[in-house]
Amino acid sequence: MALDATAGEADEIRRLGCAVLETEAQAVSALCSRIDGDFVRAFCYMLECQGRVVVLGMP
């Protein structure tokens, strides 16, 4: 394919890229309904925190 994709290949590449963004956008949109009492409680804990908030992640 090298650097010159055919029109068909280009369409497919764009479709793949768009599909990922749509999947991710839907995942984010769905979070609105998850903003509930837990979100508010997490917010309050951090708002009242006088020290530091340690943020870490694990796979």
Binding site: E24, L31, Y45, M46
Partner: protein, 215 residues
């Protein structure tokens, strides 16, 4: 740790995709960031789930930021050494050339003498001021090029006739980032700094901004 009776932290807040997980159960608060599917066709690489966690973290951070009345200056103070802090804290007055380092000539000065002043101060320009020290114009390297094109005699021509009249000016209390914006917008390399009476107090050029880390 949770369960040991001596928690080193005030509260453990989790963002997980599984409310029944050990981590979620150990937390005081668990925010559900589960996603119906990953964007990865194999369902292996975290894609949609990492985006969701990122977005939920932003939601918490921004909600807190607004409730606390966090300002741009607070942000700068907590990131003083970074580019953001510099952009928010550094003012034109902190980095401009003043006194002897400021290139300036009086109105009526011969172009020849203005060029000497420009070369001596090394900012690629000189301000032209009136008897009250008010800025009447600027003569830059660019103006010099345009002047040479017109075969002007530098020994007999006053700088006023070939300068850029007026010129674009800034103020000392302006953020350096704002000075940069003005220079970029007007495509100029140097900015004259004046007081409220339009009297010259300083000057800076792109190199000064570069050295200060504003750009």
């Amino acid at each position: 740790m949770p369960g040991t009776g001596r928690s080193p932290w005030h509260a453990l807040i989790c963002l997980t995709g599984n409310p029944r997980s050990t981590l979620a159960k150990a937390a005081e608060v668990n925010i559900d960031v589960s996603v119906p599917k990953e964007a990865c066709p194999l369902g292996l690489a975290p894609t949609a789930s990492t985006t969701a966690a990122l977005a939920m973290g932003d939601a918490l951070a921004v909600a807190l930021l607004q409730s606390r009345g966090f300002t741009a200056e607070d942000f700068a103070r907590s990131h003083p050494a970074g580019t953001l802090g510099r952009r928010l804290l550094l003012h034109v007055g902190d980095i401009m050339h003043i006194g002897d380092a400021l290139p300036l000539v009086q109105q009526g000065t011969l172009l020849r003498d203005a060029l000497v002043e420009m070369s001596r101060k090394g900012l690629g320009m000189t301000a032209v001021v009136d008897a009250e020290h008010r800025v009447v114009g600027i003569f830059t390297d660019g103006d010099l090029r345009r002047t040479l094109d017109r075969s002007v005699d530098i020994h007999t021509t006053p700088v006023d006739l070939v300068m850029t009249a007026g010129g674009i000016t800034g103020r000392t209390d302006m953020l350096a980032a704002e000075g940069l914006r003005i220079m970029e917008e007007n495509r100029i390399n140097a900015l004259l700094i004046v007081d409220e009476d339009h009297r010259l107090v300083g000057a800076l050029n792109m190199h000064d901004l570069l050295r200060a880390g504003v750009m």
